[in-house]
Amino acid sequence: MLELKNVQTSYGNIQALQDVNLTIHAGEIVTLIGANGAGKSTTLMTISGIVPCRRGKILLKGQEIQALSPDKIVALGVCQVPEGRHIFADLTVRENLDLGAFLRTDKAGIKQDLEYVYSLFPILAERRHQSGGTLSGGQQQMLAMSRALMARPQLLLLDEPSMGLAPLVIKQIFEIIKAINKEHNTTIFLVEQNAHQALHIADRGYVIENGRIILADSADKLLNNPDVQKAYLGI
């Protein structure tokens, strides 16, 4: 589905990603774990085209996308839920969701997906006329994910969906990530600091450190890897 080949990204003179290689197959949940500043969010922003890719190639189903503008990448079915949710605070919940479907023209399909996200998160249906900024952190995360789902993505990029949320809400969010993956066969690339939770729902995982991928393995093996346990699982 998605392949990164020797991707390099820099902010000014600071090299943020160095020769990142990773592969995501269709239908998988793949996670990228790492410490603060390791380059997790930068990886997602590079895929989405927000941060320019200096060198290397990003292939989506074999097509090079590293030079495309962000809206073209969304049109190809790659949607991101960025870190910190980025809710349009002054717009209503419903308007936020409508914007998720900005590039779509199939009215019937949009309506169907609206019903679907309302069924996933009934609280959003209840608050659809409320402005996005009045929602709690957990609800905003739900809204951010729903907004991305409204684009009916083939590949969903999630950046720290658990950040700043209560354990119970985190559990709910992760269950829904699994459900989205199963029910819609949406491929998911999950960036997390909460390595434990992420590795539990993922098929495979990558570990990033200082802008380099240092480990790639199945999620089970990473969970049992002593280095990973020490560095990221606190065991």
């Binding site: 989405s48 809206d71 914007l99």
Partner: protein, 268 residues
């Protein structure tokens, strides 16, 4: 009391025109966080365009209503072309530069456009044809509010309602509000932000051009420097009305009468 009402009406007229121009400042500021100092010049170019078109059409003896409409449309299109080009030349290359850089290039654009019109046209005041006649049915209240005041008020009201509709309910309006609030997220939902910014400049410039036509016809003369003064006043109105853009223009018309009052009281 009559004097009070007369001042009030005339203040409302001026204020509503400044509000039209102020919307251009507000929209651009809301979307790219830049105070577009060249906006007053766009208004001035709108006034000149409508002057040229109106003069030519009146030589050929077109009816007044046709002249007003054609001149208004021509001014809106021409000013929009200028607004669009100014953004592409002076602001887009500086999109990621520190905020002072586009501010300086905005001031530069303002000076450039003023002097361009000064050289291409004239430095003198030009008599602007009176495009709005005195209506007969307005006779009884003509001492309080003139026909052109009424036309201006109606036009600005219609334009602002149309703009509110555009911002609230259309696709481009939603894209504009999203871009104003969070540009990164707007990109991530697939909005072509460059196109939204261009649309903002085009709409703002068209509004300024309509303001230019109305006020020039109201006052009766134009020159190359009118953009600067009107720009400053409209900018003040934008600040008083709240420069943060949320699709409404509630504050701006109110500031008109106030300023006019102060102005008149000060100079009387």
């Amino acid at each position: 009391m009559d004097y009070f009402i007369e001042l009030f009406c005339s203040g409302l007229t001026r204020g509503s025109i400044y509000a039209l121009i102020a919307l251009g400042y507000t929209m651009v500021y809301g979307i790219i966080g830049l105070i577009n100092f060249a906006h007053g010049e766009i208004y001035m170019i709108g006034a000149f365009t409508s002057f040229i078109v109106a003069t030519v059409l009146s030589i050929y003896g077109f009816p007044l209503a046709a002249i007003v409409v054609v001149a208004g449309v021509a001014a809106a299109i021409w000013s929009s072309a200028y607004g669009y080009t100014v953004e592409k030349i002076a602001y887009k290359p500086l999109r990621h530069a520190p905020r002072l850089a586009p501010l300086i290039s905005a001031i530069g654009m303002s000076i450039l456009l003023q002097n361009y019109v000064l050289l291409a046209q004239t430095s003198d005041f030009l008599p602007f044809p009176e495009l709005i006649p005195e209506f007969a049915f307005m006779e009884p209240i003509a001492h309080i509010i003139g026909s052109s005041d009424i036309v201006i008020l109606l036009t600005t009201t219609v334009v602002m309602l149309a703009l509110t509709f555009l911002i609230k309910f259309t696709r481009i309006g939603k894209a504009m509000r999203a871009t104003a609030q969070d540009r990164t997220m707007a990109l991530l939902v697939g909005i072509n932000v460059d196109r939204v910014i261009s649309a903002t400049f085009i709409i703002g410039s068209a509004l300024a051009a309509i303001g230019g036509l109305l006020i020039a016809s109201h006052i009766g003369q134009i020159n190359f420097a009118i953009g600067f003064i009107a720009g400053i006043k409209a900018f003040t109105a934008a600040v008083l009305g709240g420069i943060v853009y949320s699709g409404s223009c509630s504050g701006e018309p109110d500031s008109g009468p106030d300023r006019k009052f102060c102005h008149r009281l000060y100079f009387q």
